[in-house]
């Protein structure tokens, strides 16, 4: 492994300055659960690691109706915060199943997003929550919807000197519910063959879907926002028939490959099943949130 220096900035400006100076030869560092593995595997070399865990904006978890998750906040802080867990169960679905306990002590949803794996468990729940990624760089701050953040497997929108500071999750509307499920052949500690996050908001009558969002993992080059299936949900009755049809539509938006984890055909079927199931869970959560 190429030797690198360890930089622990105390402010965002310092972090941006180091990243800008080194360009592609430096990376922000939170839990290290992806970047250290990739460095050892020889995927790329770095001259500097920029640890964000001393930067306040990247390490705060702030619930105030909406939820701001610092990019370096580890998973356990999200699911062990009882107020956050009660308000955002759809995010907890993912934060509590990424890796094992040791990984959850370190891995962050921000890092999961920046790593831009197509099979990332954390990204689809953020998408269906309409989460915005707050990016800081040499030109200041910019805000990117999470569904536009990943550009290809392992690639994201961050430019030279830019880093992800935080994830801003809007306050859930009354009647909102969300859920995430993945399929793996084991009980835990595995990479999704396919994953689906769904969210819906019930209308005034409590029986009609006012709006919905569906996102798909491990069935395309990036986690995908299923725009057609999401649009289909608006105005439909919140019934198993609607959920099944949404699953059929979502499966037409998936572009899976076949690999060691599963065939493309299997993944298409999984999208249908997981869409149905996550919408049903989201409905239950929406009903208890009215």
């Amino acid at each position: 492994m190429h030797p690198f220096t360890y930089v622990a900035p105390r402010t965002l400006d310092e972090a941006v300055a180091v990243l800008e100076q080194h360009g592609e030869r430096a990376r922000p560092f939170a839990g290290g659960t992806d970047v250290l593995v990739q460095l050892r595997g020889g995927r790329f070399d770095l001259d500097a690691i920029v640890d964000l865990k001393g930067v306040p904006e990247a390490t705060t978890l702030d619930l105030n109706g909406s939820l701001r998750i610092g990019a370096a906040v580890p998973c356990y802080r999200i699911y062990e915060d009882s107020a956050v867990a009660a308000a955002f169960p759809g995010l907890i679905d993912a934060a509590s199943l990424i890796g094992g306990i040791q990984i959850q002590s370190r891995a962050s949803l921000g890092g999961n997003l920046c790593n831009a794996s197509p099979s990332a468990d954390g990204i689809c729940p953020l998408i269906v929550h309409s989460t915005v990624a707050v990016v800081q760089g040499p030109q200041g701050e910019r805000r990117v919807p999470v569904e536009e953040f990943c550009t290809a497997p392992g690639a994201n929108v961050l430019g030279r000197g830019e880093l992800l500071v935080a994830l801003e999750v809007p306050a859930p509307d009354k009647g909102f519910g969300a859920a995430y499920q993945r399929f793996i052949p084991r009980n835990e500690m595995d990479i999704a063959v396919a994953g689906v996050a769904s969210a819906l908001t019930l209308g005034e009558d409590g029986a009609t879907i006012a709006s919905g969002r569906i996102a798909l993992a491990a069935v395309g080059p990036t986690p995908l926002f299923a725009a057609k299936a999401s649009a289909f949900l608006a105005g439909k009755p919140a019934t198993p028939e609607t959920f099944a049809e949404a699953g059929e539509i979502a499966s037409t938006e998936a572009t899976p490959i076949g690999d060691m984890r599963g065939t493309a055909e299997h993944r298409i079927e999984l999208v249908k099943v997981l869409t149905r199931r996550t919408l049903a869970i989201a409905l239950g959560r929406a009903q208890s949130n009215r």
Partner: protein, 162 residues
């Protein structure tokens, strides 16, 4: 980790290691696992996969279990690290260690320090976990010898005695 020429300077690390104030020098790219074993000389923490899958290198960092292969030594400056070496009291064994012996919860032993450190963290939080909870908590620790049943029984046995 390959030892190339080192243009990067070593960094001083001061941490509380098994309750003792400890200082050492580490290369900035060195893992906590490597520093513990090769700089500090505490070889109880084992290297298994070196990529965060097996849990053999589990240590406690500020009270949370982590894979020390995925922590940089430089990061633990100012923090508290607890390894398997700090587990037993001065005379005798920790109840979990005793239970692992009595239940024959190890064969080759490479995974054992990681299992013990992880299991201790569980029992400190939840003194009486059920079998499902134990298996879920220990999912990040792999054992290729025992088939896990004896490990789970040992943790249950230690929990019953405390």
């Amino acid at each position: 980790m390959t030892q190339q020429e080192t243009p990067v300077r070593k960094v001083p690390v001061a941490c509380t290691l098994n309750g003792q104030e400890t200082e050492f020098l580490a290369a900035p790219y060195q893992s906590l696992l490597e520093a513990l074993r090769e700089v500090v000389g505490l070889t109880g923490t084992k290297e298994g996969c070196n990529d965060g899958n097996c849990g053999a290198c589990t240590v406690s960092l500020d009270g949370r279990i982590v894979d020390s292969c995925l922590v940089l030594a430089a990061e633990v400056d100012g923090k508290s690290v607890d390894t398997i070496e700090g587990m037993a009291p001065p005379h005798g064994l920790h109840p979990l260690q005793q239970a692992f012996l009595e239940e024959a919860a190890l064969q080759c032993g490479i995974c054992t320090p990681g299992f013990l450190v992880a299991a201790r963290a569980l029992l400190e939080r939840e003194p009486h976990p059920d079998e499902h909870r134990i298996r879920l908590w220990l999912a990040g620790n792999l054992c290729r010898c025992t088939g896990y049943d004896k490990i789970v029984r040992a943790v249950q046995s230690a929990a019953d005695k405390t």
